[in-house]
Amino acid sequence: MTRKYQNITSKLAPVVSIFSVLLLWFALCEGEVVPAYMLPSPIAVGKAFVNDFPILMQHAAVTLQEAIYGLLLGIVLAFVIATLMDRFPFLYKAVYPLLVISQTIPTIAIAPLLVLWMGFSMAPKITLVVVTTFFPITVSLLDGYRSVDADAVSLMRSMGAKRIQIFRYIKLPGALTQFFSGLKVSASYAVVGAVISEWLGGFKGLGVYMTRVKKAYAFDKMFSVIIFISVISLLLMLLIAVIKRLCTPWERIKDERSQTE
């Protein structure tokens, strides 16, 4: 009985907090604490979203395409790099610092360079998404590979397992959980990465829409597109959570256990 009650409150808490922020925002606008041209009310933002809905959808399709292609390429790249690094320890030592350095370069600084190199097409946007997304996936995969019990690997070897079989049957499934947590982080970077690269040149996409409405000082549209972008990111993360659930059924048991204990 108490657990059920706890469950309800824990599910209700985020709803209440989000609703309170909206309410505060609404109050600030209604009470004219902040002038309407600087902070449009949530209702005005909602209207802007509805009015521009068809245009937003067209732009979103482009941005989402860039984000997903970039994310998929990022996964492939991360998989290749992490697997090679795990297989060859000298490669691990040589490449790891490079990976870390690559992450200290601000996205916004290389985006214009990519545009100069690759033009205004989709290529520089996808490249930027790859650059921002592959790192968390690589690191999580590496950790996942390394989390495998060395004794379990020895045991498999005693059973006559070849290196490729150890990878296929132990390391790869053993790394899945960590892989998905890296992927979740990357998914949230992917949409933002695509939008940032669109700011700096392009014809379509939510980033392009953003720069246009910014130039027009259309704050309501600005707000609606910002919220829209975060909703898209959230949906993408949700999608990954669903895929994770399907791919790692054993995790569910662990979750259920920790809940009952």
């Binding site: 045991l155 005693s158 006559g160 790692t248 054993w250 662990k254």
Partner: protein
């Protein structure tokens, strides 16, 4: 003779010789214990037998076949069950067969009928996390059994269990050994355990480790805990302690 035997197995790591000239044998259906203090090279010897290490000299023979340095013939079981958390119990148990090239479905069908025998009926599609410690050990044993042609190497598999559970699992183990015709080489540092369950005991001691004594326990099995109170038991124990001490 001997179903499984080692002939003069010596192994060093760098300059350090760990075991020297080890010749032991395990006959069909026997349970033989390898008793030694820590650091006497018990695990090194096991790794040589399972093929993970290649000895510097000497041979390992299984049914007359030279399996020195060849993994995949004999498997072992440790105190840790090492069941993979991301496979069901059935897939865990069938994995060694898959590794040996059997089709997944076939491997499952081969493993499935043994579940009841091992007291694991109904757990096939559970994940290891859902099983109790004792059940996990049994599943690990079933896995070892499926991939090792009638021989099991057990490296202190029950040392984490309390005395009562331990004697229950000893009884169960001796019973299942007979049913499935399993021969067992058993590592332990527990003298009482060795006397209770073994047909023969080898004493491994010294640095480098050598076989300093071989004792046949000539008592009917199963031996209950009451046996530990008899003069015979004490006599065995005394002899073992002396052998262990002599070599120090």
């Amino acid at each position: 003779m001997g179903f499984l035997k080692t002939e003069g197995v010596t192994k060093s790591f760098g300059d350090k010789k760990v075991i020297e000239n080890i010749s032991i044998r395990l006959d069909e259906g026997e349970l033989v214990s390898l008793l030694g203090v820590s650091g006497s090279g018990k695990t090194t010897l096991f790794n040589c037998i399972s093929g993970l290490y290649k000895p510097d000299s000497g041979r390992v023979l299984l049914n007359g076949e030279d399996i020195t340095g060849k993994p995949g013939k004999i498997s072992y079981m440790l105190q840790k069950d090492l069941l993979l958390p991301y496979y069901t119990v059935l897939d865990n148990v069938a994995l060694p067969l898959v590794i040996k090239g059997m089709k997944k479905k076939q491997a499952r069908e081969k493993a499935r009928p043994l579940f009841a025998e091992f007291g694991l009926g109904g757990t096939e599609n559970h994940y290891p996390a859902e099983l109790s410690g004792g059940m996990r050990q049994r599943a690990a044993l079933l896995r070892t059994y499926l991939c090792s042609d009638g021989v099991a190497l057990l490296d202190e598999p029950f040392s984490a269990l309390d005395t009562i559970t331990k004697s229950a699992i000893h009884e169960w183990y001796l019973d299942i050994m007979q049913k499935i015709k399993l021969s067992t080489l058993f590592i332990t540092h527990d003298i009482d355990e060795a006397i209770l369950i073994s047909d023969r005991i080898y004493i491994l001691s010294g640095v480098p480790g050598v076989i300093s004594d071989e004792i046949t326990i000539d008592e009917k099995k199963p031996r209950t805990n009451d046996f530990t109170l008899t003069p015979e038991f004490i006599a065995y124990k005394k002899r073992i302690i002396e052998s262990l001490r002599l070599s120090q």
